[in-house]
Amino acid sequence: MDFDILNSAVRIATPLIFAAMGGVVTYQAGMLNIALDGFMIVAAFTAIATAYLTGSLTIALIGAIVASVLLAALMAVFNIRLRANIFIAGTAIIFLGNSLTALLLKGVLGQDGVFTSDRIPNFPVIRVPVVDGIPVLGALLSGHTILVYVAYLSVPLVAWSLYRTRWGLRLRVVGEAPEAAAAVGIDVDKIKFQAMLISGLFCGFAGAYLSLAYVTLFAREMTAERGLIALAAIFFARGNPYRTALVAVLFGGATALSVRLPQVTGLAPQLLQLIPYVVTVLALVIVGWRTTRARNRYGAWRFDLG
């Protein structure tokens, strides 16, 4: 019972890891993809609506991924084909995702803020034999839904794709020096397009997890800026998938703590729920401090002439 907090940390980190892996791929391809939340909310809604209407978790998961990838394709068309600024395109996608799901929530499911139903099946919890009985490890590794395992296994898969395969090399070069890639005949836009679609794929998993596994309900704007928190983790880890995942897990731990502490200490839960966000801000402060210190240590600085 005492190790419940570990179990919830693992679960809380799961959507962050999905979103962060999606963000790592676009980050490495040289795109600051702020639209992760937009992809996720659409996926979360599609997942719960499909599950409610079909009763099938598999179809719901596929539906979530298809919806998220389609939105990512729209984002890619805006940003890559039509050369729209990625910030503006990303903001538009987030607004679109949040508003469209709120509209459909009312229109299709007839609810205003929150939707849930007994007809929605649950993802079965997997008890890993042997490990389940071991105190700490059991809480960490056993008793999760299939999506949790997929999330954690996706981290080495992303790392392998980025650092071992031809596609990964090309993607990273596109991110660092697009003109170098173009000069040897690599289709820069195609690779960026692919990266954005993969970002959508991961956000599809993240969204489905949020509405069908983490909880079984859909609420407006239920992603709660997880996409931005994932981006913070990516920046903190400079795009390395393993370190990004680690930061996501630490964040999950902080959140789990913020849920548990009020019960233990009796402090105001509203205050303690700030913990994860404080952790995010601190992480970003460290990133900023790290980069300015690299300059200031040597006393070299420049006026901002821009």
Partner: protein, 530 residues
Amino acid sequence: MQEAVLPHKGLPPVVRMRDIVKMFGSFVAVRSAAIEIGRGEIHALVGENGAGKSTLMNILYGLLERTSGAIEVFGQDVHFSNPRQAIGYGIGMVHQHFKLAPSFTVAENIILGSEPLTTYQRIDRVRAERETRELSQRFGLNLDPRAIVGTLPVGLRQRVEILKALYRQAEILILDEPTAVLTPQETRELFATMRSLAEGGHSIIFITHKLREVIEVSDRISIMRHGEVVDTIDNDNVTAQQIAGHMVGRSVLLRVEKSVARPTTEVLLKVDGLTALGDRGERAVDDLSLEVRAGEIVGLAGVQGNGQDELVECIAGLRRPVEGNVAICGTGLGPKPSDNRDAGLAYIPADRGGVGLSLESSIWENMTIGHLPQFSRFGVFAIGKARDRAKQLIACFDVRGGEVEKPAKSLSGGNQQKVQLARELTRPAARLIIAEQPSQGVDIGAIESIHRTLVEMRDAGRGVFVVSADLDEIMSISDRVLVMYRGRIVANLLAAETDTEEVGRYMGGLDGEPFGPSAGDTGKGLADGA
């Protein structure tokens, strides 16, 4: 040497471009250009900036598509719409600005786009490194396949680019301004490489505007002017003046005509024990001292990246030194860049678009900024007066195509440079002129007038400090030449008593230990000041 001069004779050309036209909107960049490249020849393509050299070669390499005309490569009609197709026909291009990924290894950069694979689309690193090593040994271009490209000196990065093309079995190599960033010694090594490649049957197209090098290395020379190839000549008893004449269509002075400098004892710029750090924290300027006096032009030579940028930024007040002093006309550095300007600094930065001008703003606005108090009436800006003055300056500095209301970006590089000069040199307080890469991206006609202006400034008793990566420019305009190497001044020479060869040796750091200013006895200013 005689039989090596025209090895292509009797063989069909490997490239034949005819009636090539390239339009950008209504602007004709290339009009009816024709060129033939023989097998195993080094073919120089010369012309002023904007003559269409790079455009023509970008068409051959598939980076640009021609508007009309015909191209044959190895006897086949081709129409490339991307470099990949050109690479497939054995064409390789080394761009002026290297197209490399700095945080990746040499091997990764070389195989990029044609990666050797093992199972599951994985990159075969072992094979990539082995092939890189073999290739570099075969062509005598030694490189460590595992070295990170960003840590290599420029000369080696260029080798990576050349090997990249050779790895793709290029038989026709286009080198776009390959010597712009090299020391004379690195240039010589490059020329040796070019010759051995040509002897091995590769054809090399060498785009440049450095005429001395054209004569030194090429077999044939094609000269472009206003988008046309006006002549192709064998490199046989040709002089640089003849080629230059073809390039601009009139004979030009390559050396600046100027009288002997008469520097006074007044020190306008005194840099004393200056140490400054670069953006990555390295000691870019290392305990450096120098002086510029009224009435002299001091040229700072050096391969780019030896601390020149940081030095100039310190003087301009754009970078804070960690140690040492800078005095402009006897006044120390102030906390704001404008303090240095008030003390007498006129600054012509190399980065015209970023530091020197606001390209989106109009010409009159660019000419007025920094002169605002003069146009202030009871705190209200007298726009009409500022415009009138800009009109006068446009005429006075011969800014071609200059209309006061047009944005600065509508001007050519040379004319943008003139706008900068007009603004900076007309400031009454300006006595020390720092001109950074004054002729970069400027056509020959404008270079002449810019140099003449700088000499006039000198003769009017101002001090001129020219920083340039172009050794020819340094040698032709300076009265005294300083050479910067790894953050220090390693030579202080009178221009009349030295030559490019000697300066080049110092630029490459070959003469070992840097010496302090007191050792530079040939310099009038430095020795006394130390």
